[in-house]
Symmetry: C2
Subunit: 270 residues, 2 copies
């Protein structure tokens, strides 16, 4: 309901007597949809306590898994602290991203959750807004690829254990989980692996919040550039004036040539 409509109703009551024939009419109109009310993206970020958000992400994992935990830790907190327009998005929507989207093992759900939150707070349809959000999201992706994770230690862990951290070299759930299982010898379907992913959900939220704070202060600088080796590949394969025959900027070596799964394959001769 628009403000002028509200004033019209009250004007009607005051000026012309009670014209309302049913109280349900009022309630229905107060409940009406808000199709024109949503502000354009990006929606304004308000600083949130990273410690609280990390705990929310960690426990959110145990409620709705990685993608929900990550998105809810940021957007759910803004729902509580800011309200509208954040309250129109059910954070449960992001349960879709569990274990690489519906358990398919593709992109890590924690990354999808923070990517959605970062985009809502910095992005938009226009090219300029896309670029602004993407440079932040890409830095979180590379943090996930390059850092030994998890780092986060919960105050009251669900599972109190010495947690081994591994470098995923990939944003893909299947690769990230397989590497951790190979190193730690824990099963993929185990309490220990759950605990690992709950902590990584918190790690992704903590890093995303660090970048959001920086971006809103005008001091964002990505801390994780593309690796030199991947850059070399991209110089031919991803450049408009060269081969230009692929998309993306994930680490090439994880699957091609020097990665464990196919270290025997050679680059074709030039």
């Amino acid at each position: 309901m628009k403000r002028r409509d509200a004033l019209k109703i009250f004007g009607g009551i005051l000026g012309g007597g009670l014209l309302l024939t049913s109280s349900s009419w009022i309630a229905d109109n107060l409940n009406a949809s808000q199709p024109n009310k949503l502000p354009q993206l990006p929606w304004t970020y308000k600083s949130i306590d990273p410690k609280k958000a990390a705990e929310r992400a960690y426990f959110g994992f145990y409620k709705g898994r990685c993608c929900y935990g990550a998105f809810d830790a940021i957007i759910g907190t803004l729902q509580d602290e800011v309200g509208f327009p954040f309250t129109g998005i059910p954070t449960e929507l992001f349960v879709f991203g569990r274990s690489g989207i519906a358990e398919t093992g593709s992109t890590c759900g924690a990354l999808i959750g923070v990517a959605g939150a970062i985009f809502l707070l910095t992005g938009g349809v226009d090219k300029e807004k896309q670029d602004r959000a993407y440079k932040i999201i890409q830095d979180v992706f590379r943090f996930y690829e390059q850092e030994a994770l998890p780092k986060y230690i919960p105050e009251k862990p669900k599972l109190n254990m010495q947690m081994k951290a591994t470098v995923a070299n990939s944003p893909i759930c299947h690769i990230s989980v397989s590497k951790w299982c190979a190193v730690t010898k824990f099963k993929a379907a185990s309490k220990e692996r759950d605990e690992r992913c709950a902590r990584i959900t918190a790690d992704c939220v903590l890093y995303a919040l660090k970048l959001l704070e920086a971006e809103y202060k005008g001091s964002f600088k990505g801390a994780y550039p593309i690796k030199a080796k991947t850059k070399t590949c991209m110089d031919c394969h991803d450049k408009k004036d060269a081969l230009n025959n692929t998309k993306g900027n994930m680490e090439c070596g994880t699957c091609h040539f020097d990665g464990k799964i196919n270290k025997t394959t050679k680059h074709p001769p030039f």
Copy 2:
């Protein structure tokens, strides 16, 4: 604002005279957030015209790319035709998924867009709701992996061309695009590749709608089971009582052993 709150306001006006000191108070409260109003997931699907939705997905691609095009074709249509609660979600949020999420080349954005929409309409936090949504989303993923795409031919194409279709064998943007470029010899950054992805966005929406219609009629059956070869791998690697050292159900052969990128690598001996 809740109905009983609305009645309180009007009751106050009628019974005790005008207590309101400022009209802005009224407008602010009418605009207030609706934190308790959102229905629980899943939100009810209402049949939508697949032809119109496919065209919307196709043109949506050219507005906000794959992930936005897919999500908006379903949820944007429900915003127009149903209104609340769909209107609280800015479909532009899903621009985050462009080209495998923020152009990283991970999971195909069209898949992410339909996964989000399907989850909203069939899923929820409870295990039973998750399972219901995931079996549908997984079938769309395998449709994308196993079918030669694109199939969709727009009524008024942005680029009128004979479109070659390829089988991605993967839900990953980087792999899907690279295969198509290798077969067609078109560049990754080209109008032709844009047109290909716009059509695939429509393909994913058409197939998702087919499954949603079936699910709501109680007749859903996945048409794309896991391939026998992948099933053999999963029998050891993904089973709780066996190795249980990985996650996911993407096609194994695309990257391991018989895939082009590492066909020389052998499975370690048992």
